[in-house]
């Protein structure tokens, strides 16, 4: 166990923590600042367990934030920044998976699940409204009543 833990630590050493937060980034245009934050929040930090670039204090995250900040200062847009990151680290950095043929399953799968759900619903409803009335059988009802003899409130509570 301990050995395993140590190897885990050894496999990838991370740059040490460094002093920096988003306070250092200023934009003349407040909307640019919001865009900047939105972008780094949707980027996954590569060295941390599961944090965004905005939330991480790992040195690499700081460097990448600086890089993205410089790019924004130079007037590059969100798509260019995403392209910059993806060409180096792959789709892994994006918390919001890009729409492309291999990710169709993620983006259109839910609609299919939704569709299946609706089909199931309508089929059950169709079948139900056609079937004959089969109330609790008399015996079943009797047993139910016996079992949990309810003094006064033997009645539908939720109507």
């Amino acid at each position: 166990m301990r050995v395993f833990f140590l190897t885990l630590l050894l496999i990838v050493s991370l740059p040490s923590l460094n002093a920096a937060t988003l306070a250092e980034y200023s934009f003349e245009n407040p909307s640019q600042g919001e865009d900047f934050r939105a972008i780094i929040e949707e980027m996954r930090c590569l060295v941390c367990q599961n944090e965004s670039l905005a939330g991480s204090n790992a040195e690499l995250a700081v460097d990448l934030r600086n890089e993205i900040y410089d790019m924004m200062k130079q007037g590059q847009n969100k798509d260019e920044i995403i392209e910059f990151m993806v060409s180096r680290y792959g789709d892994f950095v994006l918390y919001n998976p890009p729409l492309k043929p291999t990710t169709y399953a993620i983006w259109f799968g839910p609609l299919i699940v939704f569709l299946i759900g609706s089909v199931v619903l309508f089929r059950i409803l169709k079948r139900k409204s056609r079937t004959q009335e089969t109330e609790l059988s008399a015996e079943e009802q009797q047993r139910l009543n016996n079992l949990l003899k309810q003094s006064t409130d033997n009645r539908d509570v939720n109507q």
């Binding site: 166990m1 301990r2 395993f4 833990f5 885990l8 923590l17 002093a19 920096a20 937060t21 306070a23 250092e24 980034y25 949707e42 996954r44 367990q49 599961n50 965004s52 204090n57 792959g90 789709d91 892994f92 994006l94 918390y95 919001n96 998976p97 291999t102 990710t103 399953a105 993620i106 839910p110 699940v113 939704f114 759900g117 199931v120 619903l121 139900k128 409204s129 079937t131 004959q132 009335e133 089969t134 109330e135 609790l136 059988s137 015996e139 079943e140 009802q141 047993r143 139910l144 016996n146 079992l147 949990l148 309810q150 003094s151 006064t152 409130d153 539908d156 509570v157 939720n158 109507q159």
Partner: protein
């Protein structure tokens, strides 16, 4: 020597679990009363031995017995006693022991509160619980023994993860596990019913209170976890759709579907096979969550130290438990009778709709959680599926859920008169539409349709239920009449109202905090003032302080609004002695309509600090909503029909024990 006793108690528990799994089950088929009756004694025996184990491990932490590896890794002499206790379940091995202990506790609860159940049913239920227990005890003994020793004995322990040194997280895991493990009861009832072929309304009534209790624990556990993440992680978020969070949310979604579906099965005898499937799924997803968190197949913020050998074990366990029960389901479900007829417009329809929506949502969350793994396995590349995707899925499903919830609670079983429904809901609809549109006005959100949707839906849920309440209370006149009406509701009715109002409160919280929250990352020198949402934060500087097992920088802020003093906030940045990773302790001025939140970033030299200031409107409503849901559940369990049921015990066993299986064949 003492830790060995703990280990020995675990082995004894395993022996008892095996006996509990086999003997009562065989007895239930051979109709040997003494064998069946043994199930209760065996459950008690397991409980006693697991308690001994748990006490011994706790004692090892309190006594700083670092000869036990687990204690050496997570204990520390300087750890406050409270965290020594919570360290027992602070990591993998001990948390498994807690699982097993709680499972035994639930088993004992069944053994004690089941006098009204047929012995045959009790013995099968406890037998299934015994089987689950075997899995967990074997897992512990074979791969994760908390009592393993180490030599030479270290002088000092490795300390509990500082993130977990917090009251909220001390009680979060027990709550959550009570929920997970609690679903094993619903699961065991379902399996017992499938085995015995008796799946009827009384089955639903038996398992209903147990399921609700488990659901309440899970709800409160999740609320606690989210609240903890909010104040402890220092980034002001309350939900990140991390795999660990999803692992708890999945059983919750299915469990919520289950408690509603159980209602239909109890009242109307309908949806039986669906209810059984949900009962199996809720527990299966709890187990799946355990696998995801402990096997290391997914990257997550706060997962346990993972180990492939453990992953293999849990996977085999999953195959046996889930695969076995679904196989049983395939075999028996086709013979479950269909239940009563109902019209297209009826409470059944709306509950079914909500059930499917909850299940679809669960399926989507599962898809998103597993997607990175699936892509990797199919060699389609590494991807991340994070909060932007999940939030979209949330937006896709919850509006429908809220809509149906309003209609469903008002409509009657079997057949709801559409014209009456329209009449009842007309006012609610108009009010919520107006409210939604109003919130779009420039003074509020300036046309942000998400705000309109959220506020409209919250209002819809609230007003629809108020109409429901009004209709119930208007039958008799005068105060006495009102009181009669009020009492006629029954606690489960008010429980339902409270829980559903909780949903409305929850929606308001989410809508407000995600659309009107502000955050500010600033660099401040002592004496600087920073303004956020009309509140002025005066930074007085940072002092060094010493805690029991950490040193900290503590900042001090005076918050004023319009010149009036609001609060003094003291956020900390702690460095624990052993695990030196810096931890932020945010300072929060709690409020009903807003939180002010400060977290300390990094020193920037010359007394300057980088800081994060947040203004979080209505953020408490998110957890308040969750707490209301939990309270609603508690209220429902205390309903008379469950209490009276308990008193009439002996008689019930006699009548029911001999009654032949009615449906299910």
């Amino acid at each position: 020597m003492i830790p060995e006793l703990g280990h020995f108690a675990l082995i004894l528990s395993l022996c008892l679990a095996v006996t509990q799994a086999v003997v009562p089950l065989v007895g239930s088929y051979t109709r040997t009363t003494s064998w069946m009756a043994a199930s209760r004694t065996l459950a008690w025996g397991q409980f006693v031995f697991l308690s001994i184990s748990l006490i011994i491990l706790t004692n090892a932490f309190l006594a700083n017995d670092f000869s036990v590896i687990y204690v050496a890794q997570h204990g520390n002499t300087k750890l406050p006693d409270m965290y020594k206790i919570s360290a027992v379940w602070g990591a993998h091995e001990g948390s498994l022991l807690l699982w097993a202990f709680l499972l035994a506790a639930w088993s004992v609860a069944i053994a004690s509160f089941s006098r009204n159940l047929p012995l045959e049913m009790v013995s099968r239920v406890l037998s299934v619980m015994g089987m689950i227990s075997i899995g967990f005890l074997l897992f512990m003994l074979l791969t994760s023994n908390p009592f393993d020793r180490t030599f030479p004995v270290p002088f000092e322990g490795g300390e509990l993860n500082p993130m977990l040194q917090d009251l909220g997280l001390a009680i979060h895991p027990p709550m959550l596990y009570m929920g997970y493990v609690g679903f094993s009861v619903a699961f065991a009832f379902a399996i017992a019913a499938l085995l015995g072929g008796r799946l009827d309304a009384s089955w639903a009534r038996w398992s209903r209170p147990w399921t609700t209790v488990a659901w309440v624990f899970l709800t409160l556990g999740i609320v606690l976890g989210s609240w903890w993440a909010y104040y402890e992680l220092g980034w002001g978020g309350w939900w990140f759709w991390d795999p660990v969070e999803n692992a708890s949310f999945l059983p919750w979604l299915v469990g919520t579907a289950l408690i509603h579906s159980l209602a239909v099965t109890e009242k109307r005898g309908a949806f039986k096979s669906w209810t059984v499937l949900l009962a199996i799924s809720a527990f299966s997803l709890s187990l799946l969550g355990t696998f995801l968190v402990r096997s290391g197949v997914l990257t997550s913020v706060h997962s346990f130290a993972s180990d492939p050998a453990r992953g293999v074990f849990i996977l085999i366990f999953l195959l046996v438990v889930i695969g076995g029960s679904l196989l049983l389901y395939t075999w028996r479900a086709p013979y479950i009778s269909g239940g009563g007829r109902f019209d297209l417009i009826s409470r059944e329809t709306f509950l079914l709709g909500n059930n499917l929506l909850l299940s679809v949502f669960a399926a989507l969350v599962l898809l998103g959680t597993l997607a990175p793994l699936i892509y990797d396995a199919l060699e389609l590349g590494k991807i991340s599926v994070g909060f932007p995707w999940f939030n979209k899925m949330f937006l896709l499903t919850t509006p429908f859920l809220a809509l149906l919830m309003g209609i469903g609670s008002l409509s009657r079983w079997k057949h709801a008169e559409p014209s009456l429904l329209v009449k009842q809901l007309r006012v609610a609809f108009v009010i919520s539409l107006l409210f939604g549109l109003l919130s779009l006005l420039p003074v509020f959100s300036g046309g942000n349709w998400l705000v309109g949707l959220g506020m409209g839906l919250a209002m819809w849920v609230a007003t629809a239920h108020l109409v429901n309440l009004r209709d119930r209370l208007k039958h008799k006149h005068g105060f006495a009449g009102f009181w009669v009406d009020f009492k006629s509701g029954g606690r489960s009715y008010y429980g339902m109202l409270l829980a559903h109002l909780g949903v409305a409160v929850f929606i308001v919280g989410i809508t407000m905090v995600s659309n009107f929250g502000y955050e500010n990352d600033v660099r401040m020198s002592p004496g600087d003032v920073s303004e956020i949402a009309g509140h002025e934060f005066l930074f007085e500087g940072v002092n060094q302080i010493a805690g029991p097992n950490y040193n900290a920088n503590r900042g001090r802020f005076q918050v004023t609004k319009d010149g009036e003093h609001i609060a003094t906030l003291e956020p900390e940045k702690r460095t624990y002695f052993v695990q030196t990773r810096p931890m932020t302790e945010a300072a929060i001025d709690w409020g009903f309509t807003r939180d002010l939140y400060v977290s300390l970033g990094e020193p920037l030299g010359g007394g300057d600090w980088s800081l994060r200031l947040y203004y979080k409107p209505y953020v408490r409503w998110i957890w308040l909503g969750g707490v209301l849901m939990g309270l609603g559940g508690i209220l429902a369990i205390t309903d008379r029909r469950y209490r009276t049921a308990r008193v009439r015990s002996a008689e019930a066993v006699n009548t029911a024990g001999v009654a032949p299986a009615v449906s299910g064949r």
